[in-house]
């Protein structure tokens, strides 16, 4: 277990503030840059803490943050910490999306943590005001610019290692997200492990580049808090919405600042392949990029290999491509690719894997996400809790110094997830030659661009559609050949008496319903004959089996000429 240099986030920040030429660099869409050194960030945070105290934030209070990547986010986040509070970054609304779901989900989160107040920016202030008002929540909403006021003096509280330093909403699913409570000690243990895996070189500044949202663990803990922990560091930050519009910004920033580390989920590597033009890469040098980490969703070896091949032209080393695995409940990383071995994969037979759990050669290639992070242990267990040997698939359990305190305000869920310090990840996989391979999720979530959606979330959208047999539609995640990562598949049984000739219209209705309510576009929608979906004895659809049959071509998709009888 790597020793901790700091036992709390604020201690790490005070140490970082003493490093010259270290801190954050924000990059905008036109590649103009503004810097915020740690020393200045620390001053601003103390001031912000004074304002927050004046606004009513007391030690232990939770503060909701709905802010874009910006200096204002830093004021809010570190200001909350220095006021003795617990920052809880939340996802902002989908730009131009429908807000009804957003209000409900966000209000639920704010209620769960018992937020004292919400900090947001001018553009979102009205929306958050509506969220709070429509839910009848008793809390105030302020814009982050109030934190710049000097009227309220400064605060510089010192946290304890066992105090909650961060609450992160995790993916159980986007609609059922749980509040992961992490102590300062747990956060620092994660940073210690990451800095041990990616040691700073000599006296040089450790440089990272990230476009990741700061309400997600990979960006917040993996990039921001870890950069603070390094101290002698530079973290280049691109707002996620700018990466979406111009993925090339990220690669150019890595080159311009000679970043050593830049993590992203699999879909981002695919986006770079598809949308970054050669012209944008003129003069770009990626040879500095030692740690091209891929985590937060299923790793596609195909995407990584193509990314490595294309960008080798600009100096990217194939050894830089490193899948990693982790979860918010462990603060972030649990396994991390070995730096001496390039992308590892094992081709397994999916049917055997699904039925007996044995790993035997076949055509489904699964990527290694590496051995456990220093200080961590990983076990694969069967449904009875028996530890399995290598090459036997089962449920992944982990234990280590950054595993959470628990879910805030949900003791029952905590008891289910944490047993004797072992965390049930909810993921399925196997170990081979000391490396972990993740094969799926126990609860059948659909992970789209790193967000864990439940199947139910999509299926609910189909309830009101007359052409779909009630309760007979299933949403699944699958990776179609040639697609960049996991996509949404909808299989729906036709309602009795419906003419198969109207299937195209029904498919359009389904697409519109799902997209309208979830802002996710289904990749594939198929209408099935009644009673096509496999079910359990109690009538529940067997998802894994349905997916397997779909992939194997065993589900009859073609239109049925015979009349359907109810």
């Amino acid at each position: 277990m790597p020793p901790l240099r700091f036992d709390t986030v604020d201690t790490a920040l005070r140490a970082a503030a003493s490093w010259p030429d270290s801190g954050l660099t924000f990059v905008d869409l036109s590649e103009r840059e503004t810097s915020l050194e740690w020393a200045e960030l620390y001053v601003r945070a103390r001031r912000a803490a004074g304002v927050l105290r004046a606004l009513g934030v007391r030690a232990g209070d939770r503060v909701g943050l709905v802010l874009p990547t910006s200096p204002g986010f830093m004021d809010a986040f570190f200001g909350t910490l220095l006021a003795g509070g617990t920052p809880t970054p939340l996802c902002p609304p989908v730009r131009w999306g429908q807000l009804r779901e957003y209000h409900a989900v966000t209000a639920r989160m704010l209620r769960t943590i018992g937020a004292r107040l919400v900090l947001t920016d001018r553009r979102l202030h009205k929306v958050l005001g509506q969220t709070i008002e429509s839910a009848g929540l008793d809390l105030t909403c302020h814009t982050a610019d109030v934190l710049e006021s000097e009227r309220d003096g400064e605060l510089d509280e010192r946290a304890r290692a066992d105090q909650i330093g961060l609450i992160q909403f995790s993916s159980g699913s986007t609609t059922d997200a749980k509040a992961v409570a992490l102590s300062h000690g747990q956060l620092m243990a994660q940073c210690a492990a990451l800095t041990a895996l990616m040691p700073a070189q000599d006296e040089t500044t450790h440089v990272g580049a990230s476009w990741l949202p700061l309400y997600h663990d990979m960006g917040l803990v993996g990039c921001l808090l870890t950069a603070v922990y390094y101290g002698h560091s530079r973290l280049v930050l691109i707002p996620p919405e700018h990466f979406a519009a111009r993925p090339g910004l990220w690669l150019r920033a890595i080159s311009r600042h000679q970043a050593v580390v830049a993590p992203a989920p699999n879909f981002a590597y695919g986006m770079c392949l598809k949308r970054v033009r050669d012209e944008e890469m003129v003069g770009v040098d990626l040879s500095c990029w030692r740690y091209a980490l891929n985590g937060a969703e299923t790793v596609s070896l195909d995407v990584m290999r193509r990314f490595g091949e294309r960008f080798s032209r600009w100096g990217l080393s194939p050894n830089a491509l490193m899948p990693v695995y982790g979860l918010a409940e462990a603060a972030l990383a649990v396994t991390f690719s070995s730096s001496t071995e390039a992308l590892l994969g094992i081709a397994v037979d999916p049917v055997t894997l699904a039925t007996t759990g044995d790993v035997v050669p076949g055509r489904r290639e699964v990527a290694s996400v590496g051995p456990p992070v220093p200080g961590f242990e990983v076990e694969v267990r069967d449904e009875h809790g028996t530890v399995l040997t290598e090459r036997r698939a089962g449920r992944i359990f982990v234990r280590g110094p950054s595993v959470m305190i628990g879910y805030y305000d949900d003791d029952e869920a905590t008891t289910r997830a944490l047993v004797d310090g072992w965390l049930d990840t909810g993921d399925l996989g196997f170990v081979a030659d000391g490396q972990l391979y993740v094969t799926g999720r126990v609860k059948d979530l659909v992970v789209i661009r790193g967000a864990n959606h439940t199947c139910q979330e999509f299926e609910e959208c189909l309830e009101g559609i007359a052409g779909v047999r009630s309760g007979c539609a299933v949403a699944l995640g699958y990776a179609p050949p040639g697609a960049e990562g996991e996509q949404l598949l909808i299989l729906a049984e036709r309602a009795p008496g419906r003419d198969p000739a109207s299937d195209p219209a029904l498919i359009e209705q389904i697409r519109a319903a799902v997209l309208g309510r979830t802002a996710i576009r289904p990749h594939t929608v198929h209408i099935l004959r009644m009673r096509s979906l496999p079910r359990t004895s109690s009538g529940k659809v067997r998802r894994a089996e349905a997916l397997r049959r779909f992939i194997e071509g065993e589900l009859v998709i073609a239109r049925q000429p015979l009349a359907e009888m109810g």
Binding site: V94, G97, V127, E241, A244, A245
Partner: protein, 84 residues
């Protein structure tokens, strides 16, 4: 001198083709979500690309959000007029 609806539509058509891989012809009454099937990633990409192209700031959310292509054109014309 201002931008006509046709000018704005032509520019947005180019943006949508370049950034979102969308080659069909846009109609003014096309709904962004219902007809063009823009998901959350496409919506934010479009918003940022349009703002960057015209050098304007478009409203974030709420009742003023653009639902149709016509809404978007009108918003753009309004902002461009304000800043010119």
């Amino acid at each position: 001198m201002g931008l006509s609806d046709a000018d704005v539509l032509a520019e947005i058509q180019k943006i949508v083709a370049a950034q979102l891989d969308f080659k069909s012809e846009l109609k003014l009454d096309d709904e962004l979500i219902a007809d063009l099937e823009l998901d959350s990633l496409a919506l934010v990409t479009l918003a940022v690309a349009v703002e960057d192209h015209f050098k304007i700031a478009l409203p974030e959310d709420g009742p003023r959000r653009p639902r149709t292509v016509a809404d978007l054109c009108r918003l753009v014309r309004g902002q461009v007029r304000d800043t010119s």
